[in-house]
Every structure is written in C-alpha cells, then in structure tokens.
Amino acid sequence: MKSKKTLTFALMDAPFETARTTTAMRLLDIAARRGYDINVFAYEGAVYVPFALQKRHANSVHGHDVEQEDHPLPREWVVALAQEAARNGGRLDWVNCGLCVDERGAEETVAGVRRGSPADFWKMAAASDNTLVIPTK
C-alpha cells in the first residue's frame, strides 16, 4: 500500500460566512503537513476563497487599525497551504469551477489556482484515495 495519499476535497461555501471554510482549511493543512497530494474543487461560492482582491481592513469595533486587526484573508491561506504541501513533498491543485467564477466575476485569483469544470472534479476524485465533500447548508 502506498504511503503517500491523494485526497480530493470539494468545497462549496463562500469565505467569511460559515465555519465550514475554516474547518476545510484545517483538514487541508493536516494533509499538506503530511505531504499528501491534495486536490480542491471549489464550487459555487467557494471560488471566492482564493479571490485575489480580498483586502484587510481596520476594525473600529475592535479598536484596531489595519495592522493590529490582521484580518484573515483566505487567499493567503490557500497560498500558505500550497507552500506547505510543496515543502513536504506534496502538492495542492486548486481548481475553481469556471462557470461559478463567471457567475460571480471572480476571475482574479492567487497564483496556482486554475479554472476547471465538474469534469475535473470527477477526474480528481477518480484518481484519489478518498474524497470529502463539504457542501453549503
């Protein structure tokens, strides 16, 4: 049995709206630290997770300026996960559903994210040891 796993994740939630995005990132982080090959198919609102135009902001409710607030940006998490996977001998292949991107005008992504279709999800799942779907609710 090969020790290096290939895992595919389908994500569906937009960032900044539920806890599921962060949970998915935690799972991806474990896989990246283990050097697994990771596929992500971002479907519907999840195509905004690696959206390149996400920006930090200050938060007057918290009394923080931009620097102090250090607002989470999921696009940075995607980059960090790809780097972590590579550092451990794995890889992160992030595919944004192209039609979902078009619907939302979410073309601008961080480097390493590619456009695809449900056919890519099917192919990635077929070539993986297992697949986890984390849908929106």
Binding site: E17, T22, V61, E69, A80, L81, A82, E84
Partner: protein, 126 residues
C-alpha cells in the same frame, strides 16, 4: 425604534471574521445610535461561557493573530447598555450552569419570549 437581534447560529465564520458577524453589526449599529437588544438562543447561548478560548490558528507558515473573544464581545455589548437575553432552556439543554457564564445576562424562559418580542418595534432573526 428599538430592534431585537436574535442570534441562533453560533460560530458562523467567527475565525475568519474575528467576531460573530451579528454581534459585530450590533456593536457597529449601537455606535451609530441604534437602540438594540440581543437574544441568544440555541447554540448561540454558548457565546456566554467564560471559559471558551480559541487555540492558535495556522495554515502552513501563515500564523493568524487576533482570534475572536466572543464572551468578551457579549460583555462589551452589555457595557454599552444593550440588554442581552439568553434562553434558559437552551442553557440547560447544553448543561451550562449560571456560574459558568459572564455576568449581566438576562435569562428568559421560552414561554416569556412573546412578551419580550412585543417590547421591540423590530425583531430580526439572523
């Protein structure tokens, strides 16, 4: 106009937003002069537990600072004069005792909710 924000869904994007979005908007609207109350029900009653904390969050080499502090955020609402009601039965269902909770909350039974809701001009279930 007085409005009641009802929060039931708990920990919704709290790590990404460093706060609960409804708690946050309540703070922000209060700062703009709004007259607001908050009702915590369902899983959101856990926001009142003092002992909760968020472990450090990191993805790869990206360390995330400024975790949410939800109990403190609820206390801060009350410090601003906002009544925070919490459903007694929802606390009991989760085994939460009064001594585990932040001070200043207004416990309310489910049977008393219609009377409470009538004291507000708008009721917003988030």
């Amino acid at each position: 106009m007085r409005a009641l924000n009802i929060i039931q869904t708990a920990y919704r994007a709290t790590l990404e937003e460093q706060d609960d979005p409804v708690v946050w908007i309540t703070h922000a609207m209060k700062g703009a002069g709004a007259e607001l109350g908050v009702l915590l029900r369902g899983n959101a009653v856990n926001y009142t537990v003092k002992a909760q904390l968020v472990p450090p969050l990191a993805f790869g080499a990206r360390q995330q600072r400024q975790a949410p502090h939800l109990a403190e955020a609820i206390s801060a609402l009350m410090d601003k004069g906002i009544d925070v009601h919490v459903v007694v039965e929802d606390l009991a269902d989760r085994g939460l005792e009064a001594e585990e909770l932040i001070d200043g909350l207004k416990p309310i039974r489910r049977s008393e909710l219609p009377k409470l809701l009538q004291t507000y001009d708008r009721v917003w279930q988030w």
